[in-house]
């Protein structure tokens, strides 16, 4: 299955990386998370409420909305920080890197194989770091980052409201194959954040797993 792939190319200052990526990823996650499911039986369930909060950025004049979930926020922040640190200490000039938010579903596999992870939507932010030569330069770059972000946010809502492919609502026994049920207050679709500095999009979980399986079978 081909995953829907959306890629954003943006240039920004080093200190803005965390917030730019977080704005995009949290906007996507807000749309791709539901309230916790409570199954009454195998097929019927009720969904709890999702709360949301505003996040004001420090290094860009921007506010984004994200799900109110401390654990989700912490996990996303950790991945983005690691990518940001790596990018900002990169030796290439200008430093480039990309980070992806990949939604996937699991497919059960026969023992002894692990379930196969099949990505269905991948959001990639390709970042290029810029340096401002003077204050005026910094100001205009700041404005362009904000404008770019606004465009991306509109684009995200446009794509998500097309309702092209999202996994079907699962029965109780399959819920873990579609949703990340580990959070107490929220239930996002299964996702993974990956990054690299080569400039090429990160290898997807699905491809890696498939490659592993192929390698195993060819033995």
């Amino acid at each position: 299955m081909n995953a829907r792939s959306i890629s954003f190319e943006m240039s920004m200052e080093g200190r803005q990386v965390d917030e730019v990526v977080a704005s995009i990823f949290h906007t996507v996650l807000f749309h791709r998370s539901s309230g916790k499911f409570t199954y009454n039986n195998e097929e019927s369930y009720s969904i709890r409420t999702v709360s949301y909060i505003d996040v004001d950025c420090d290094f860009i004049d921007f506010t984004y909305v994200c799900c109110e979930s401390e654990a989700l926020g912490r996990n996303v922040k950790k991945e983005i920080s690691e990518f940001s640190d790596l990018l900002r200490t990169a030796s290439s000039s200008p430093p480039r890197g990309s980070i992806s938010l990949e939604f996937f579903q699991k497919r059960r596999a026969r023992w002894p194989f692990q379930p196969e992870c099949v990505p269905w939507e991948v959001w990639t932010v390709c970042c290029e770091l810029t340096e401002s030569r003077n204050e005026h330069d910094m100001h205009s770059q700041h404005e362009s980052v904000v404008e770019m972000l606004q465009d991306k946010i509109v684009h995200i809502t446009e794509i998500i409201n097309r309702h092209e492919y999202v996994p079907k609502m699962p029965s109780r026994s399959d819920a873990d194959l579609i949703f990340d049920t580990s959070y107490a207050d929220i239930q996002p679709y299964l996702f993974k954040i990956q990054y690299n500095l080569s400039g090429a999009p990160p290898t997807s979980v699905g491809n890696t797993v498939r490659k592993l399986i192929r390698d195993t079978l060819s033995l």
Partner: protein, 415 residues
């Protein structure tokens, strides 16, 4: 056009109508919530029941719901949304300048239908996603940043809900439009769009010509009230007590406070003067014209009328008319989003009082008074009252002197 038999059964259509109704209600709520100027923080909202509409924790302000209800009649939900439902966001400065910032529109576009979407739980789920998009988009338009500053700056954000033709002209020449997603349903595409102005320079106050209406209350300069205030002030200074809430200084010209919706006040005064037999004003009242006949174009004549009314001593406390608004008077009034004053400030009390006064139920007595049979009696009563008032007015100096005298003697005895 969406096909007639879009839904296979009537209960699905009813359910769709109900979902659409709540989509509209919740949509207006999230838009207004985002313009309150309050940042939504963790644990800032009380945890609600698990049965929230669209599984989203959206506020349920009764005032906002009422505004939506007025623009969206329950028996014509789909028809009204087909002809568009709008939320207008505007800003008003302390000086009375006003500007429409953006216009949110919910529409059911019949050409964008999708008959493959049959399952009502999917429609419901997707409406939730559409609302999430509205929440997200509401943070990126300029009005959001402006509304976040309203607590520290001297302006207030207002909203208004209406249906029908959008008043896009109020946004100026330079307008940007964003569509916050479209949900295609068997009956058409449901979409929220926001059109917002990109030029924020405030044009000069349109009411320059009506500045004569800024009242200076010289009338009270010699009044006993003034003397009492002055003597109290002196006492305060003597006792070195600094009271936070000083009495109103009547020497200063009367101004519209930041929260005052002058159109509402103007309308209320008009209604008041028409319905209640106030002496003098009644004698000057014009033939009654239905509210719907009055439009924004007739502002100049109304301004003149108000000037003459303001000469009457009974109407000196009327809020001055500072500028002629952009809105027609037959449109629903703007609702105040936020009082830019501390909770315990006396102005807040005044605002609350005004609101209660304005929202008070209609008095039966007023209707009776309006009956033609009673008109003569009222006029007679008015004439009597007018004579009395004239008598009292002519004795004003005497009263003033008497009261000043009493105040002086009270101060002497106090010392």
């Amino acid at each position: 056009m969406a096909p007639d038999a879009a839904f296979s059964n009537i209960s699905d259509k009813n359910e769709f109508t109900k979902f659409t109704k709540f989509l509209a209600y919740k949509g207006v709520q999230v838009i207004v919530e985002s313009r309150k100027g309050v940042k939504i923080e963790a644990n800032s909202k009380p945890r609600t029941s698990d049965s929230d509409w669209f599984n989203l924790q959206i506020p349920d302000s009764p005032e906002v719901n009422q505004a939506t209800k007025n623009a969206l009649p329950s028996d014509k939900i789909l028809e009204t949304i087909r002809s568009q439902l709008h939320v207008e966001i505007s800003v008003q400065t302390e000086d009375g300048d006003e500007m429409v910032l953006e216009l949110w529109t919910l529409e059911l576009d019949e050409t964008q239908f999708d008959t493959s979407l049959k399952a009502m739980n999917t429609v419901y789920f997707r409406m939730g996603i559409l609302l999430k998009s509205v929440i997200t988009i509401s943070r990126i338009t300029p009005a959001y940043h402006l509304s976040r500053k309203q607590r520290t700056e001297s302006f207030t954000i207002f909203y208004r809900v209406y249906n029908g033709e959008p008043k896009l002209k109020a946004l100026g020449d330079s307008v940007k439009k964003i569509q916050a997603g479209m949900l295609k349903t068997p009956l058409g595409g449901l979409c929220f769009t926001v059109s917002y102005r990109t030029n924020f320079s405030i044009s000069p106050n349109r009411s320059d010509k009506s500045k004569t209406l800024l009242l200076k209350s010289d009338h009270f300069e010699l009044s006993p009230k003034h003397v009492i205030f002055e003597s109290k002030k002196n006492k305060n200074i003597k006792d070195k007590e600094v009271k936070p809430n000083r009495p109103v200084d009547l020497d200063k010209p009367l101004r519209l406070a930041a929260f005052v919706d002058e159109l509402v006040i103007q309308e209320a005064i008009k209604d008041f003067l028409e319905k209640i037999p106030v002496p003098k004003c009644k004698a000057r009242s014009r033939p009654k014209t239905p509210v719907t006949d009055r439009s924004a174009e007739s502002k100049s004549t109304q301004d003149l009328d108000l000037t003459s009314v303001s000469k009457s001593p009974t109407s000196l406390e009327l809020p001055p008319k500072k500028f002629s608004g952009f809105r027609g008077e037959n449109e629903p009034p703007l609702k105040l989003l936020h009082f830019p004053f501390a909770d315990n400030h006396p102005i807040r009390e005044l605002a609350e009082f005004y609101k209660e006064f304005f929202n008070a139920p209609h008095l039966k007595l007023v209707d009776e008074l309006q009956d033609k049979d009673n008109v003569k009696e009222i006029d007679v009563a008015n004439d009597d009252l007018s004579k009395d008032l004239e008598l009292y007015e002519s004795s004003l100096l005497e009263f003033d002197e008497l009261l000043a005298d009493m105040c002086r003697s009270a101060e002497w005895s106090g010392n």
